[in-house]
């Protein structure tokens, strides 16, 4: 940047020039507002990028963690689970045995079953991860206890989410004969969630068409 021909007097004058006489002065306020807006926009963009990065990271973590949990649920059998989570099973055992043993012998079987179901729903209202309780109580062979124990001990393969009575006449676009009893069954497992409406076509509810 060296130029011997520089004559500083008029160049300095030109450099110090801040405006031309007779011209409208430069509107600094408006210019600053525009500049400030641009500076702020950039800051907002940066902030948005960080939010997106955080969201992506969260989703990534969920994608990595959730399948692993599902896999664990699938692989481990009820028996091994009993071995690992001994304390949990013990607790459930206690609940089940209490439930069974606390029942007086003269209470009707139907009532007993209903109360136990109600309790279970109260503990896990929607998605019930039902562990098969191992019941050590020796059941009386002539009561319903024996049946309950046998059913409870059997290992399950799927989780039952909920069974709702649907009723009504029209489901979707299809007309359903009103005499059919209908249920909505939803099942969830590691593969996803499925639901289906089924109709109970027993001899009682059979329509004249069928």
């Amino acid at each position: 940047m060296s130029n011997e021909k520089r004559s500083d007097s008029w160049i300095d004058k030109l450099d110090r020039l801040e405006g031309l006489p007779g011209e409208a002065p430069f509107d600094k306020m408006a210019a600053w507002d525009r500049l400030h807006l641009r500076l702020d926009e950039k800051r907002d963009k940066k902030r948005t990028i960080w939010y997106w990065a955080a969201a992506c990271l969260f989703i990534g973590c969920m994608v990595v963690v959730l399948p692993k949990q599902g896999h664990k649920d699938n692989v481990s059998s009820p028996v091994s689970r009993v071995a690992i989570k001994d304390s949990n099973v013990q607790a459930e055992q206690v609940i089940v045995s209490n439930r069974v043993t606390s029942m007086p012998a003269d209470v009707p079987a139907r009532k007993r079953t209903a109360s136990s179901t109600e309790k279970r729903v109260a503990v896990t209202p929607d998605v019930a991860a039902i562990m098969p309780p191992v019941i050590n109580v020796i059941p009386h062979t002539d009561t319903i206890q024996e049946e309950t124990a046998t059913v409870a001990a059997a290992p399950r393969k799927m989780r039952v989410v909920h069974i709702n009575e649907v009723g009504g006449d029209v489901i979707g676009n299809a007309y359903v004969y009103p005499e059919h009893k209908q249920f909505k069954i939803a099942i969830s497992g590691p593969a996803g969630f499925a639901s289906q409406v089924v109709a109970d076509k027993t001899s009682k509810t059979l329509s004249p068409k069928n």
Binding site: M1, W10, G19, P21, A31, R38
Partner: protein, 184 residues
Amino acid sequence: MTIPELIKEAKKGSAAAQRYLFDLMSDKMLMVCRRYVRNQQDAEELLLDGFYKFFKALPDLNYQGDAALYSWLKRIMINECLMFLRKKNAFVVVSEHVAETMALEENILNDLSAAEIFNLVIQLPAGYRTVFNLYVIEGMNHGEIAGLLGISEGTSKSQLSKAKSLLQKMLTQQNIEYVKRKTQ
């Protein structure tokens, strides 16, 4: 508040300090932009672009005095203007024949006011004006100018020669008018 303090605050992102710096230097910088780009609106837009880059680059600035800060900001503005002119293809490519070196009558220039000199310079065509500004006012050599504008050194010399010739004509005219005014 002194300029170093303002710079320190502006580095931290203080909008007030940035605004103060803008108010302090925008007038001079606008005139720099207008020396390169004749249109007032284009010049204002380039001024904003320049200040935007200045504030973005401010955290990396090592303050070494007001003069250094001023020349840095001026350089940013000039670069913005050159980029703009290049985009608009404002440089006229002329033959590389170097005209005989013109000597500008600088004593006449010294007699003129800053506004008069400014008005003379901005009357030059874009190519001549740019080379004249860079060589005579900013003090660059032809190699630097050629690198900046993407032209050969010969073209730069030629443009400067023509700019001086044209300016000399204008100055003579101006001087005649000036003398006439004085004698009246």
